[in-house]
Structures are given as C-alpha cells and as structure tokens.
C-alpha cells in the first residue's frame, strides 16, 4: 500500500512500522537529550574528584587529560554501559525496521529511480568503471550496506536520518539552514556550486533554490545516494546535477566552482584522504572562491570537553565512525591553511556541536 509522503519525506509502508519507528525516535531523544547530559554531568564530576584525589594526574599546562584516564573514570559509572546499550540498540532498531519497511516497496523505488534517469539522464553522472575504494565501504552509522552497497540505501538513509535528527530535519530544515549560511565569494559571483559529499542532495537542492541561475552539482561516492538524490530532485523539479566520484578525485577542471559546501564529510574519511580532499577543493575553486565547512569539532585547542571526547570515542567504536577520532585530533584548520586557503570562522549554526569554517582561495 502506498501511504504517501510526510511532506517531502517518504512514509513507512505500514502504520505498524511508522509507530515502531516513532517510538525509536522518542527513545533516541530520551537517550541523547536526557541520557547523555546526565552521563556527562556525573562523569565530569567523577573526573574532577579523580583529579582532586590524585587518582588521575593533572595534565601539564596546555595538555589534555588522556582519553585513557577519562574512560577509566567513566567506566565506574553504572549509567555508562546502560547508555551505551541504549544508543547501540536504538541504532540497530532504527536501521533494521526502516529497511524492512521500505523493502516492501523496493521494486517501485527502483522503478522510480530508473524513470528519473530515463527522463533526465543529463543530470546524473556515473562512470561505469568506478569502484568505490574499501575505505568508503564501511557501514557508517551502522547503516546496512553503508553509502555504497545497498541499492535501496538512499531511501533507507533518508528515513533513518529523520530518526537520527529526532524529527528536526523532516522537511530538510537543517540542510536549508546550512545552504542559507553558506558564505558567498566577496565579489558575489556565483555561477557554479558544488555540494561535496552530498549524500541524498538535501542541501544541493536548496542551494539551487537560493541561486537559481547557477549550475549546481552534488557529488558523493555512493551510487545509491546519488540515484536517490537525482530521483528526488527530478520529482521536485529541481534542475541540479549529481555525480558519483571520490571527493579527492572529482574530475572537475581547475577553478571550476565559485562556491563549495561540505557538511559532516571530513570526519568520515581518513586523515590522509582529508588532506587530499582539501587539496582537491583548492584546485577546483576559482581564485576568490569560498569553501563553507560545517563539521565535527577539532580538539586542537582543547575545546572539546572530556564527556564529548568520551562520547566521540564511543561513537567511533560503536556507531561505525572509524575515522572521526582522527579528525577530532587533527589540525584541520592547519591542513586547510597548508593547502593555501585563508581560513576564518563561519556563521554559527543552530547545532552547537558543529564547527563552522569558511576557507577562501586567495584572489591572486
């Protein structure tokens, strides 16, 4: 049965699935919005006591408490394994039931994507010889098949991330905010825009709405992501291009874009690839072009609290985020500057966890 849409979001194929997944959403809100602050408060108080009584050595000036010590202290709190179990089980319930539900309409979804490709083949760009490298094929966030290996992955990602965002992004509201806060070049000339690591194109289409005369591209390594993104864009009459490629090897010409946006891409790649991607973005931006980045925080100035360091470590090991600790520990801003960018703080966004940076390619 086709149960229609929730605005621009697909509706699960049965009321039972929808009710189950709404329960998972409420449980996630409880675990993240109430459980984690409680864990952080108790954990940081325990860490304070451990520093006071010498159980944990005070770090030297400018140094941080080792993660090992944070985990050792946090491990004594009964809420910790409970919270870890809660969050992992919630992720498993979310992906399992989301995929089960949309599998009932899988044939129709495949037909819809093929129909979009038949109607607008000029807007989807795939190299038939492209093979996603192994580092891109892990099941990030525990999504079955990850970004690359489930033909139904775009649709599963769309509803799964509705739950991840706890209902705050049902109509792409968060992506719209990021697109609106993307910093324009100083000369305001915007003819070509790239959304790098675009997944299902939620920000890509908003960028087109904001810059209707510009040529707008979304690029992602996952074919299931860009096929679904393309279908969504065609169905909503958004004239944007989607390309399957690596962010470090985009295939675009030097100086091709005026503006590039990335949202939570860099913590999902190894540090070496991160440097390669930054160099590629520098290459394909024209002089004076801007690169807006909304991303996990870095710990290069010790600004990430012990409880967040604990949570990021947990998330890395239990939510299939193998590269995020490397990103958090990296000197990301330094990597951008080494590539040649002039880096400034970008506009703050409503999610206070994210850092916002604007990297500008010097005009001369």
């Amino acid at each position: 049965m086709d149960r229609g849409q929730i605005g621009i979001l697909p509706r699960p194929t049965s009321l039972s699935d929808e009710s189950y997944l709404e329960f998972v959403t409420s449980f996630r809100k409880f675990a993240i919005q109430r459980g984690f602050p409680a864990l952080a408060t108790i954990g940081e108080a325990a860490l304070g006591e451990a520093l006071e009584n010498g159980e944990v050595a005070r770090p030297a000036e400018g140094k941080e408490i080792p993660l090992f010590d944070i985990k050792r202290v946090f491990a004594k709190i009964p809420l910790v394994p409970t919270w870890q179990r809660f969050v992992r089980s919630q992720q498993e319930m979310m992906w399992r039931r989301t995929r089960e539900s949309f599998m009932h309409n899988a044939d129709q979804t495949m037909r819809d994507m093929a129909a979009a490709e038949a109607s607008h083949p000029e807007r989807i760009h795939v190299d038939p010889d492209f093979v996603p490298p192994e580092y891109t094929r892990c099941e990030i966030h525990c999504q079955p098949g990850g970004y690359t290996d489930d033909p139904l992955g775009g649709l599963v990602f769309h509803y799964g991330t509705k739950i991840f965002y706890e209902g705050a992004n049902d109509q792409d509201e968060l992506h719209a905010e990021l697109a609106e806060k993307t910093t324009l070049p100083a000369d305001d000339r915007v003819e070509r825009i790239l959304d790098i690591g675009c997944s299902i194109g939620q920000a890509t289409t908003v960028l087109k709405d904001l810059h209707p005369s510009a040529e707008v591209w979304g690029l992602d390594v996952g074919l299931p992501m860009i096929r679904y993104a393309h279908m969504r864009a065609v169905q909503r009459d958004k004239n944007v291009h989607f390309k399957q490629a690596l962010a470090e090897e985009t295939g675009f010409a030097d100086g091709h874009f005026d503006l590039v946006l990335s949202y939570i891409l860099f913590h999902e790649v190894p540090v070496k690839k991160m440097s390669d991607i930054v160099a590629e973005m520098f290459r394909i931006l024209r002089p004076g072009g801007t690169f807006s980045i909304f991303e996990f925080p870095n710990n290069d100035k010790g600004q990430v609290t012990p409880s967040y360091r604990f949570m990021i470590d947990y998330d890395s090991k239990n939510n299939c985020e193998p590269y995020s600790p490397g990103f958090v520990q990296s000197d990301f801003r330094g990597i951008l500057e080494t590539a040649g960018f002039v880096v400034e703080a970008g506009p703050p966004v409503s999610n206070p966890f994210l850092q916002s940076l604007v990297a500008t390619k010097p005009a001369t």
Binding site: F86, W95, Q143
Partner: protein, 117 residues
C-alpha cells in the same frame, strides 16, 4: 546517466554491523539481552497502542461502536493460525536477543575491562 538499462538487485537483508551477535556492554551479557528485550517490548506496546488509537478514531468517525462485538469474536482456523504466526514473531522480536548473545564470550564484547581500563 551512462549506465543505461542497468538493473539493480536489492538484497533482502544485509548489514554486518547490525547483524550477528552484536555488541556487549555489561559484564553479564544477560543485562544486555534484558535491555534489548525491554526496548522491543516497549516498541511493541507503543505500536499496538498507536494502532488502537487510530482504530478508535476511524470507527468513531463512522459512528461505529464495536466493543461488544470484539469481545464476542470467535476466530476460525485460518485466523487462529495467522494470529499464532504473528504472535510467534512478536515473541522472537522481544526475546530474540537472549538467543542472539547466549554467552558474553563473543567477538563483539566491548566491556571496559577488556579494553584494559
């Protein structure tokens, strides 16, 4: 798209992360299993509650009071078998975690002690 006429087979199930024995967070794996069971049970209770809420709305809109008829309903053999199959699936969903992780000695163990802290 330059992969004209390519077809995509969607596997019925996949996912190494959410498959298999999964992760263990407690020294006693039974606590992991109990929490999974509690979560599935809570989801199932909510799902049924939600359905009854919708059912009441639909019936009320049609001026139909079926309370007495529901109490008097006698299922036939086909319905009995179908409901039994659904009930078995319900039990598996709630209590399956105890079978999924019968012991704590599994590759997915992530306890703090085995991380050496």
């Amino acid at each position: 798209m330059n992969e004209a006429n390519k077809t995509f087979d969607v596997p019925q199930s996949l996912g190494n992360e959410i498959g298999g024995s999964g992760r263990v967070y407690f020294e006693n794996v039974v606590i992991d299993n109990l929490i999974d069971a509690l979560l599935e049970l809570s989801a199932a209770v909510w799902t049924h509650h939600d359905r009854v809420l919708v059912l009441e709305k639909v019936l009320a809109a049609k001026d139909i009071d079926v309370s007495a008829e529901i109490e008097m309903h006698v299922p036939d053999d086909v319905e009995i078998a179908a409901r039994a199959a659904e009930r078995d699936d319900y039990v598996q969903r709630i209590f399956g975690s105890f079978i999924r992780r019968p012991t704590g000695d599994l590759p997915g163990r992530q306890t703090q002690s085995e991380e050496g802290i």
